[in-house]
Point group: C2
Chain length 340, copies 2
């Protein structure tokens, strides 16, 4: 594992260090024959030039940044894993940033403070506003993940899923299984909670469509989307609302809700059905296993990396809008014997 | 371990710092002869200029790398979160690498391929050998996390926990609760599985200490440490070994084992007690909640970042060995009414 130096390459190729440097830096005035010999020596030794002069000239560092709210949330950890794999296939290294969904930190991400280090940015913001984005004058290519920000035309590529349709389908599934007191956990009382609002919209559409009365006392707000928040919200619902099903806006909320239900002696799905969103691994090994909305995370990551590569290649100016498909995963938490 | 600075290059080449900077930044007005001399000095010292002029002046990029096997494993996701927080308090950005515990990828991490981008490296290897480490001639400071590698004196700072003592305490807890058929899930049949070997050692020590016979059929090997592996290994144990308790070498194995037990109609902890290792969040919301060994992850992260900062400050040459404390978290999966 001793790393080869410029002079090792020069020795093997039988040329001067300067000549190797000329080849590495792609200077002219090197004969084709010499260039071929040096390149063969570079390949032979697996020499990797690391002088920044070359990166500066090429304008590339081979590093892209991925900014997400929270790796502690398995959805983002799984998404990051997928992004790293997709980037790796292009030879890119991924630098990961956590913003905690904090607007100040998200503004730092788009401010270009680290843009001398990175070629491009994949960003899943939570709190950023259209105004924040409009004020960005950095030139580092950026692809947005998650919800669309603002209502106008965006100059940025965007990869997301159809949250309204997914939440609607998840809620309809509960109604189709005969449930009439369908609760929702995950509304956030903050100015910026686009994902929650979209999933609430889908939930309400489904209730109307199924002819199930919408009872505001069955909509439980939370501060964050963690297990503890889901557990606490479920407790409130059981005290006041007598639900027979609950649609949670993500799986960690659902796993928290499931914990409360089982601890308090409710049968799942018999007494209360539970449906989540995200299809994180944890849900597949819970007891009962968790029914959920499964977005295609690998495709989200691949699409984002491909869009960024297109930008880096000087591709199209038009911003792309990619909607990645999702499917419903029906598991034990909504599965009653005798119902098909 | 001190990283060469611009002025070291200038000294060796017999030119001014300004001239080195001109070469690095590829400015004109540098004679070919001077340029060649500076480049030779750069190669000789393995000097790695940072990408921005500002970083060049400071000699720092403000970026450190964290290399872990797998962010999909919640332990590493939680550790990464803690490292990012500790680094953030020093104004550092963290670049995250996934190695999948693959030796080739781990060798790339220590090869310095990205060292022009980073000031230091925090590395939790799985497959790396003492020989790999001994061959490293890179000067970027590195702090190792996890198990010690090799048996000799290491030049690298290291932060870990006492795996043998922790596994021993976890197993003793099961014996103290009257269990006599205590299984272990997590042994890996690979040349490099140091963590598993240490935890197996602690398990065996505890059995001997408690006077519980060690039955080899109760030790279930796995390929990896994921939920599916734990579920499958538990299934094998139930078919052949009739255990009344199981110590799993990490929490994801334990959550998989728990799933199998409940699915097959066993009561936990009544029929079989389950004990994990890592204290990931998932285990606190499982039903039953999961008893586990809780290493102080925040302190692991903080210690690693502090050690790296000391190195970057030009601190001590002596390698530090930090053993971070752990505690046992007793939850429902080992808790029987009437036993205290």
């Amino acid at each position: 594992m001793v790393r080869p130096r410029l002079k090792d390459v020069a020795e093997l190729a039988g040329v001067s260090i300067k000549t190797v440097s000329n080849v590495v830096n792609d200077y002219p005035h090197v004969s084709e024959e010499t260039r071929a010999r040096v390149e063969a020596a570079i390949a032979e030794l697996s020499y990797r030039p690391n002088l920044s002069a070359r990166s500066l000239r090429a304008g590339r560092s081979g590093v892209v940044a991925l900014a997400v709210p929270d790796l502690d949330n398995p959805y983002f950890a799984e998404l990051a894993t997928n992004v790293i794999e997709a980037a790796d296939r292009r030879g890119w290294t991924v630098l990961i940033d956590q913003t905690q969904g904090d607007r100040a930190k998200e503004r730092v991400v788009i401010s270009g403070i680290r843009d001398h280090l990175i070629d491009g940015l994949l960003f899943s913001p939570l709190a950023l506003t259209g105004k924040d984005l409009a004020g960005r004058d950095e030139r580092t290519p950026m692809v947005l993940l998650g919800e669309r920000i603002g209502t106008g035309r965006s100059p940025y590529d965007h990869v997301g899923i159809d949250n309204v349709a997914a939440a609607r389908a998840a809620t309809l599934h509960l109604a189709e299984r005969g449930r009439r007191r369908i609760a929702a956990i995950g509304v956030q009382r903050t100015a910026v909670a686009a994902t929650g609002r979209l999933r609430l919209k889908g939930y309400r559409q489904a209730l109307a469509e199924a002819g199930v009365p919408a009872d505001p006392s069955l909509v439980a707000p939370v501060a964050r989307w963690g297990r503890a928040d889901g557990a606490e919200a479920m407790s409130r619902l059981l005290d006041s609302g007598a639900p027979d099903a609950v649609f949670c806006f993500n799986d960690t909320l659902a796993l928290g809700a499931l914990r409360t239900l089982l601890k308090r002696g409710y049968e799942v799905p018999g007494d209360v059905m539970v449906m989540g969103f995200d299809d994180i691994q944890d849900g597949r090994f819970a007891t009962p296993t968790l029914s959920t909305v499964a977005p295609d995370k690998a495709l989200i990551a691949q699409s984002a990396v491909d869009l960024l590569a297109e930008r880096l290649g000087g591709g199209t100016d038009k911003a792309h809008e990619v909607c990645v498909p999702h499917r419903l995963a029906f598991r034990e938490s909504t599965d009653l014997p005798g119902i098909t």
